[in-house]
Each structure stands twice: as structure tokens, then as C-alpha cells.
Symmetry: C2
Subunit: 212 residues, 2 copies
DNA sequence: CTAAAAGTCAAACGAACGTTTGAATGGCGC
DNA sequence: GCGCCATTCAAACGTTCGTTTGACTTTTAG
């Protein structure tokens, strides 16, 4: 078959799948290339052949999952802004937040966990990856928030966006509210609550930092 | 010298100090016992002698820093509740939040970073430590929040508290708002903003999940 | 003063690590 | 068929890991 060229990426994707689950469970440093190769059912050398190094594999695992999510976010936001310009729909905090969070609900359940894991790794490993991956999205959504919060200074919006990301990461990491058990259900039911929570935090009328 | 008895714990604390900074910077798995011993200026075997294992050391590093913070939190909350009973001061969300967050501002700058780091490690390593360390405090503060939010269901409070912790952790981890640089300043100025943010999120009038 | 206990030390243990090598294997155009 | 190139493979590279050992030194207690 002339399509047989996909056998090539078969090994690649088996490695990516195995690496993803192991990175999520044990983190980067505590996951060995040998364990990944064994779980993927490939030769030990295949990882370095296809991804250059363990770090290269780590970055590839992340990009594969996050890029579709970010593309979806930007697409939703663009559609939203277009509808707002045409007057078909109003631009609100809630609609912006939904553009940001909803894409997380319709992807492989491993994705949220992977993002959460990434934020838990030491900065020296993740900072370049995270900045490259999220800068465009973060800027676009903060711009949108500025439109609906014209009375809030830009720096204040940056902070509130920062806290919003924190709440999200914490949910993604499934440091779930002590008591619940299942992970995907917790995430599914958590997103609407998360939106409620951060909507209130973002809307908060700005009155500077008032110490009593 | 007869005062030389403190030489004993000197080794212990030098190990704890060295381990703390290395764990914060590189995480648990990527920090070697050898690197800790070298940085502390002690023999390699001293770590296992004093703490049993690398994991034991990790837990000890964490407990040393967090227990005073938690004690301070509970002490402030108890004082607050006493004043409320006597009628001297009103129990408010803000006063509860201040009891929770303010103790973080007057401790060694390494403490916030250490807590943030702990939440980034794989759950298999940290879950038992975190539950043991924070269960009492979490329960006490959620009880207090229930008093000032009598109309909000208990489970809803658990979720909001959960998001609050997420915002805090994110601040502690200094995944600072992209743009700022210094770490301690960002944390210091971040705490009041964090209180404003989560106060709004916690106060949010409960109306279930209302989509538009 | 003396014996036990606590602490420190250099050295070594076996195991596991990320990566590299060079030969074997497979499909593809010619 | 033959040569080319990407891929796979077993094996080994040197390094580093957490922990243990047993001798040595210091502190403590009677």
C-alpha cells in the first residue's frame, strides 16, 4: 500500500501515548525512557531516534494535546468577537470564559491532567514550553477581557487572569476537593463551577487595594 | 565546650536548608541526595541517618515550614471567632481570608515556594503528606465560611474553597503573571489582590448553574 | 574514668539512568 | 534485481542514583 508510510508514525504515536500517561502519573524526572519504551512496546532507542532526547519527547507529548485546545479557544473567541461586531450577540465575561474553558471538556480526558502536570514541573523545564504555547492565547483573551472591563486597569486584569489560570490548573491537576473520588466527573462538573467562580472574581468592581 | 550539644541538630538543619532550596528549584525526583549533602557540607550518609530515606527528608522539609503557618492560621481564626462571639468584631469572609492568607506573608520567603512545589509533585508522593498537613486547617476554615455563607450548600463551599486554594497555589508557585520578574515582591503585592479575587468568588450569590 | 550511645565518615553496593553505536531489516524508486 | 534511506534492534557506553556497611570519633550518663 502506498499509504504504508503511516507505519512510521505508528511507533511515534505509541511512544507519545505511553509517555503521556507515565508523565502524568509520575512526572518528568521520575519517568524513565526505559519505562516508556516498555509500555509502548518499542525498542529503547526508538525514543531518541524519533524525538532526539527525553526533553524533546516531553515537549512533543505536550504540544500534541494542547495545540488543538488552543486553536479551538482562539476560533471560538474570534467567532464571538465577530458576532459581537455584527451585533448578533453581546460580548460578556461569561461568553469569553466559556470560549476559554469549554474546549477543555471535549478532549481526551488525559489532556487536562497533562496540562496540570506540566504546571507542576520545575520551571527550568517547563517555562520555555509554557510561554511558547500559551502566550498568544493569553494575550488574546486578556485583550477580550479588557473590552468588557473597560474600567479595570490592564495590570489588574493581568492579575485576575493569573488567578483564573490558577483555579483552572488546580482543577486540572485534580487536587480535587478532598472528598470526591472520580477524576473525569469531578472535572466535568467542576468546569461550570469554575466559570461561576472566576466570573465573580473577574467582575469584581475595582476599588484599588483597600486595607480596611 | 559544654554548649556543643547543638552541633547535633546543626547537621540536621543544614540538610533541611539545603534540601529545601534544591527541592524548590528542581523538584523531588530531580534532586539527588548527593547534591543535598554537598550543598549542606555534610557526609552523604548523614541524610539517611537523620531522616531514614529521601522521602522522609522531603516530608521533614515540608513539615518544618508549614506547621508554624498552619498553627498561626488556626490561632488567628480562633481569635477571630472569639471576638465574634463576644461581639467585638464581626465575622466576615474577608476577615476569615485574612486569617488564612496573612500568615504566609511573614515567613521565610522560601515557604510559599515550597508549598507551591509540593503541589506540583506527583500525587503518589504528596497526597498523604498534604492530607495529613492540611486536613485540620481546611476543615476549620470551611466551617467558618459556612457560618458567614449560611445560604450556600456545603458542597458548593467545598468547591469554592477548592478554587481558592488553586489561586493561592498558583501564586505560590510564582507562575507569576507573565511580565513581572521579582518573586517576593510579586507574592507580597499578590496576596491582597488574591484576597479581593477569592472574596468575590466566595461571596458569589448562589443561583445554581445559570447559563445566561 | 568508663562504657554505652549517638553521630560522622570514606567506601562500596547493586541497580537504574539517558544516550550512542553499528549492524540488521524493511519498503521504495529505478 | 539493486541500491537507497528510514527505521528497528540488541548491546553496550559511562554516569549517577539511593542506600548500606563497618570502622572511627564524639557526646552523654553513671
Amino acid at each position: 500500500m502506498s499509504v504504508a508510510a503511516t507505519d512510521t508514525s505508528n511507533t511515534r504515536e505509541r511512544i507519545l501515548d505511553a509517555a503521556e500517561s507515565l508523565f502524568i502519573e509520575h512526572g518528568f524526572a521520575a519517568t524513565s525512557v526505559r519505562a516508556i519504551a516498555t509500555k509502548a512496546g518499542v525498542n529503547l532507542a526508538a525514543t531518541n531516534y524519533h524525538f532526539g532526547s527525553k526533553k524533546g519527547l516531553f515537549s512533543a507529548v505536550f504540544q500534541r494535546r494542547v495545540q488543538p485546545v488552543n486553536a479551538n479557544r482562539l476560533k471560538r473567541l474570534a467567532a464571538l468577537e465577530h458576532e459581537a461586531q455584527v451585533g448578533k450577540r453581546q460580548l460578556t465575561i461569561r461568553s469569553i470564559l466559556e470560549s476559554f474553558f469549554e474546549p477543555l471538556r471535549y478532549v481526551d480526558p488525559g489532556v487536562p491532567a497533562l496540562i496540570g502536570r506540566m504546571y507542576g514541573e520545575p520551571e527550568s523545564l517547563t517555562r520555555p514550553i509554557l510561554e511558547e504555547t500559551f502566550h498568544e492565547v493569553a494575550m488574546a483573551f486578556q485583550d477580550a477581557l479588557r473590552l468588557v472591563l473597560p474600567h479595570v486597569p490592564a495590570e489588574e486584569i493581568r492579575w485576575r487572569f493569573h488567578f483564573m489560570i490558577g483555579s483552572m490548573i488546580h482543577l486540572l491537576q485534580m487536587h480535587a476537593p478532598l472528598g470526591s473520588e472520580s477524576t473525569h466527573d469531578a472535572f466535568t462538573s467542576g468546569v461550570p463551577r469554575l466559570i461561576d467562580f472566576v466570573e465573580a472574581g473577574l467582575l469584581r468592581t475595582h476599588n484599588g487595594i483597600t486595607h480596611d
